[in-house]
Homo-oligomer: 722 residues x 2
């Protein structure tokens, strides 16, 4: 962080009633210009005089148990499915809440179960007619089940404890507190009440400049078991956004009857690995429209009181997914979200339709890190260097921290490191905000979800590792800081306008077979697959990772196997002899050895003519192939690492025939990136590692020089006029 200059602004810090003088000191040190209030305390009036903006967290769906208790019919609801229960042929009873926390939910018997529940014979797939079952307060009874068939019950339940509140209480071991009940702002009584409640809040808190909604109306799916352990989580899940009130309105709009199965989805709850059905997409679209309209009312009220409205990206954000067109109609001023890595930074910074975005950086000032022996500086470095790659491509407008400031103050190294980060961020922001970073090519990432899951593909819970997905999520982490323009397109986007592909240089598809990431039965649509093949044949690039476009249909598993030059062995082709196993030298691997394919893929073999670049344990992990005028690269898996980022860069350049560009705006050291901003005539040389690095830097064609960078250094240079 050489060449550091002292600047101020664009930084938010937390405060507390007991650290007023320290808050003022940290504000100066970090150049902070905004303060987050603290949950459940009075705002320190002394801080109002600092001129800093004041953020106030606002919960639309909880922190008003009196209301929730007076209006039990408008408590929030969710759809749940029981486990699978096998019949022995005699009358059977299915307990509804087995394996589900009774603190979290309460069965909804208020709305007619015969209308809103569904008992499914999961062996035959048939729905059990209402006259073949009955219910009581805890269970469903099937008097005459078919022997040895399995049955499930899909039922509605009230969320009698807010799932995030429960999570915080359990994780932090809270004692002696009141469980916050939820209420559904979408329903008429609560809606009217909530608007009054927001006005009351604004009137009672004149010091607040920014209302930080946490969040709006519907919690992503988060269920706990009887032992208070997390049972199910889906950061994008809609199953807690339901109620008969909402569903009846949906039926009216959709023109067809709602079925619980549209939400339950065999117990998979339409998570992002599932190929979404039309009815679920319809329901999501309906919810987004309704939520946006209602959120707009609240935002308008904030504006009426002269306050800004900010949305937290998470918790009750279902229906306000920022990448969908409805979002910009809300009129929100800002979005703030947690930054776990580069992908989650882009999840925030790429949002359109707000005036500014803000990233909440790690570590939170919580006792898990800020304890004797803790190393918050290391965590902060990891977080910053990871996120900085992405900020250089698409900056958030502000950064900030959360937690208990008092804890951070006990780590002066940390306070100093963050001061440097804040300065570096401001310098960076001043230089690159609004600038278009140089991109080698334009990439379309294709899957069933498209824009809706931009940067969040494969994410089950916010930025959390999964053994089954890090080899795929790594690709997006690489792209979040890579010199490429990246769009996320759905198959429907392509079908609506196949010409749209011509805007792109490269297609990518990443994931396992028979998932929404690769397409499943969508790939039986000849219009879709021929559009993809045509794109490549006409000269487009294609990078496929895992089991790209993987669906068993008409002689292929990988539907673009002919372009990729590889196929997946599922047993069906064991009779075919495979002779193409020899690893060949290639541009893509020219300066890379010992590649980490993460979990890699099993059972991939190369077709004749393809160039095999890497084989592990008798499975091809990397291959390159030409197909008519286009080129394609297959990769078995690609966790994030500097070397893999370089590998993908080389692969992407090769697919679009720009091999020579490897000597432009880059370096010979995978730990050191170069980001160029041609209109601004500047570039950044960026050491992404925790060690000093030396690198040969390539700027414009033919120009290069050597640099030595200190640990994590970001160095700016000017592009001389030609």
């Amino acid at each position: 962080m050489s060449g550091r200059e002292k600047t101020t602004g664009r930084v938010t810090i937390p405060t507390d009633i007991d650290v007023v003088p320290e808050t003022i000191e940290v504000m100066k040190l970090w150049g902070a210009d905004a303060i987050r209030d603290c949950d459940g305390t009075e705002f320190p009036q002394q801080l109002a005089r600092t001129g800093a903006k004041v953020y106030a967290t606002y919960y639309t769906t909880r922190k008003d148990n009196a209301w929730a208790e007076r209006n039990p019919d408008e408590v929030q609801q969710c759809y749940l499915m029981t486990g699978f229960h096998m019949s022995a042929g005699e009358e059977m009873k299915i307990p509804l809440l087995q394996g589900i926390s009774p603190e979290l939910v309460q069965i909804n018997l208020r709305d007619d179960p015969y209308r809103w529940w569904e008992i499914i014979d999961r062996t035959s797939g048939a729905i059990l007619p209402p006259d073949e079952w009955r219910y009581d307060e805890t269970s469903v009874t099937i008097p005459r089940p078919r022997p040895y068939h399995e049955y499930t019950v899909s039922f509605l339940a009230y969320l009698i404890w807010d799932p995030v509140h429960m999570y915080n209480a359990v994780v932090n071991g809270w004692e002696n507190f009141e469980k916050q009940r939820t209420f559904d702002v979408r329903q008429p009584k609560t809606r009217a009440h909530s608007m009054r409640r927001l006005r009351n809040f604004l009137e009672a808190n004149p010091q607040v400049n920014v209302v930080r909604f946490t969040t709006f109306f519907h919690q992503f799916t988060l269920v706990f078991d009887e032992l208070r352990r997390e049972k199910y989580v889906d950061w994008y899940g809609y199953s807690a956004s339901v109620s008969p009130y909402i569903l009846e309105r949906f039926e009216k709009e959709a023109g067809y009857a709602f079925r619980p199965e549209y939400i339950i989805d065999e117990g998979y709850y339409n998570n992002q690995y599932r190929v979404p059905r039309r009815e679920y997409l319809d329901f999501m679209a309906f919810q987004r429209r309704e939520v946006a309209a209602l959120a707009r009312e609240m935002v308008d009220i904030c504006h009426e009181y002269g306050k800004e409205a900010m949305m937290f990206l998470g918790d009750h954000f279902i229906g306000t997914e920022p990448y969908m067109e409805e979002f910009s109609t809300i009129g929100m001023d800002a979005v703030v979200g947690s930054v776990g890595n580069g992908s989650t930074l882009r999840l925030i910074s790429d949002i359109q339709g707000v005036r500014y975005t803000e990233g909440r950086f790690l570590p939170y000032f919580f006792p898990d890190t800020f304890k004797p022996g803790g190393d918050p500086v290391r965590e902060a470095k990891e977080n910053w260097l990871c996120a900085r790659r992405a900020i250089l491509r698409s900056p958030v407008d502000r950064i900030g921290y959360g937690g208990y400031l008092k804890l951070a103050l006990e780590f002066p190294d940390f306070v100093d490191y963050v001061a440097k980060v804040c300065d570096e961020f401001r310098t960076l922001y001043d230089k690159v905000k609004g600038a278009k970073p140089f991109c080698f090519a334009k990439i379309a990432v294709l899957n069933c979800w498209g824009k809706m899951r931009s940067w969040g593909c494969h994410m089950v819970h916010h930025a959390l590792y999964q053994k089954q997905n890090y080899s795929y999520a790594g690709v997006f982490e690489i792209l979040s800081g890579a010199p490429y323009a990246v769009d996320f397109l759905s198959f429907d986007d392509v079908l609506e306008n196949p010409d749209r592909l011509s805007e792109y240089d490269i297609l990518m598809n990443v994931g396992g077979e028979e998932t929404a990431h690769t397409g499943g039965a969508c790939l039986e649509n000849a219009g879709l697959v021929s559009a993809l093949r045509g794109f490549i044949a006409r000269g487009g690039g294609f990078v496929g990772v895992g089991q790209p476009f993987g669906h068993r249909w008409q002689g292929h598993v990988l539907q673009l196997s002919q372009a990729l030059g590889v196929e997946y062995e599922n047993g069906d082709t064991l009779g075919y002899d495979k002779y193409n196993w020899e690893e060949k030298p290639h541009f893509i691997t020219a300066d890379i050895s010992d590649i980490d394919f993460g979990e890699g893929m099993r059972g991939i073999y190369a077709l004749p003519g393809a160039d095999v670049l890497a084989v592990r344990d008798l499975s091809v992990q990397l291959a390159a192939n030409s197909c008519e005028k286009g080129r394609a690269v297959y990769i078995g898996g690609l966790p994030y690492s500097p070397q893999n980022a370089r590998l993908l860069h080389r692969a992407l350049l090769w697919t679009c025939g720009r091999e020579k560009d490897i000597l432009t705006w880059g370096t010979d050291n995978p730990h050191v990136d170069v980001h160029a901003y041609l209109d601004q005539q500047i570039y950044a040389i960026c050491n992404n590692s925790y060690l000093p690095q030396s690198a040969e830097v390539y700027t414009r064609e033919g120009a290069h020089f050597n640099v030595d960078l200190s640990e994590g250094e970001l160095r700016w240079g000017e592009i001389p006029a030609e």
Copy 2:
């Protein structure tokens, strides 16, 4: 091989015109009583005087090029599919023989291509109508293909070189020989000719006692590429059993129109991993009936001349699969087959409907093994110890060797070892033939094929290793020598008579998801799945290996996951937290550590309540679970090894609640087996290893003693009367 006694008979050896005295010497040494003639030579008349039976190899479909050339319309045919060809939207030409040896096949333009070929749009799945394509001598032209769709051509070709003859010629580097053309005995002219030809042969060769048919009428699928490399092989494949003559008769019987796709099957040629379609099953049944009737005619002719008829299990054996009911109607005297391991031994020895079976043991007396530095004794030991396990359960009636006797004579150690094997075999046979070996339980192996693929499940080519299947094939190798009665049932068998399951103690299902081994869409049949669940619930055992009953349907991948207590993670359940990972001590693993699961399975997690016995790299590889009155064991993969045989034995005993039987008819050493024959009041203690072994032997309940066995020793004991 202590306690060896000199005996004679039950052994066949090869001979040649240049080793007559040596043949007589080896006959004495090995106690051989039959001699195989040598292909293409005169039979040495001196040997006729030895009293040995004389076998003569007889080729029904080749070795008569004059006939084949005079009757090109009755040359054998096969269905082939071209590769996938992508259209650019303009007229396209698909070369038919690209990638296929022109020495092997010739396109059939004699029968109307518009009737017998099929051009399929593999992107949409649609058949191209005849007016949208044309053909010439080498290709098919599609004037107006849909842009960027892929097309394949399914066409008929003549087999102008017998595939096995080609294989032998290529592998042995033959030069200056005539390629043997094929002819189709099923067709009228060739049928009449073939019957005459057989009579002529029998009349011209009075010294022959046994006509060894190699084989009957249709070669299993075996295709070579332009470089004479094997391109595709399926030991059970029917694609070379077709001709318009046959197909028209099939149509008449089946009552519906034939489609080339019934054979082509998207290019997968209905190999045993594919869930068979009804039409293919119909076609197989039709072929078996027709082939059996025609084979019977030939067998009758042999009998008329006082000769025995023996069938080689392989090559042109399509339609004579010995496990189907038609087989016994042929009236064959014997079957001979190659013994690669225990499974292939059982493939021969379990055949019903013949007077005797014979196993051809390894190594063949060929120069690849019998060369300076070669170790034929080692190969013979491996083969014998592997096969002996299976012989002790179900003996072949004879053993034999093949190749050039002259080569074997140069290895006196080998000659001596085989002499011991022959004596051991005869002793063993005398004791156990007709005896019922003691079985702990009765097992039904379930898959789409059932009896048809008994002992050959997962076999692509005869006994050949495949990385993708050795972890499954190993289960059958274990069972081939294990103290259990094993039947192979098809799903259709269960559907026809669900009560049939009650004959068994344990169900097994072995293989990868969405294959014929595990069931695919057949598992959407509620009658089938509820029958399986009912069997377990009523107290049956279940052992599942790999992705047993794996088909994505109604919330499960493994359709019996609730019984197994494990499920496969395909991404759809990443949102569910999994807490059951701790390995527990268990009866199954009580005396076993460091288990080899072969390829094992990725992504298997345990359900709550199941006992996890082994986890590798975050995937459960071994688990035990109770389900109502039944018990189930999950295993990720199980290559053959003595320890894995023991593991499976323990697992099987546990599933049927017979844990205490581990101290009956067994040992404490995985290398040492005990086989008991209660009616005969004898038992065999068998050292399956190449090293001396010590073991505690358990006979009847409570009785046990220690033995020291020499390398590979088989020791017999008597069961005292109680």
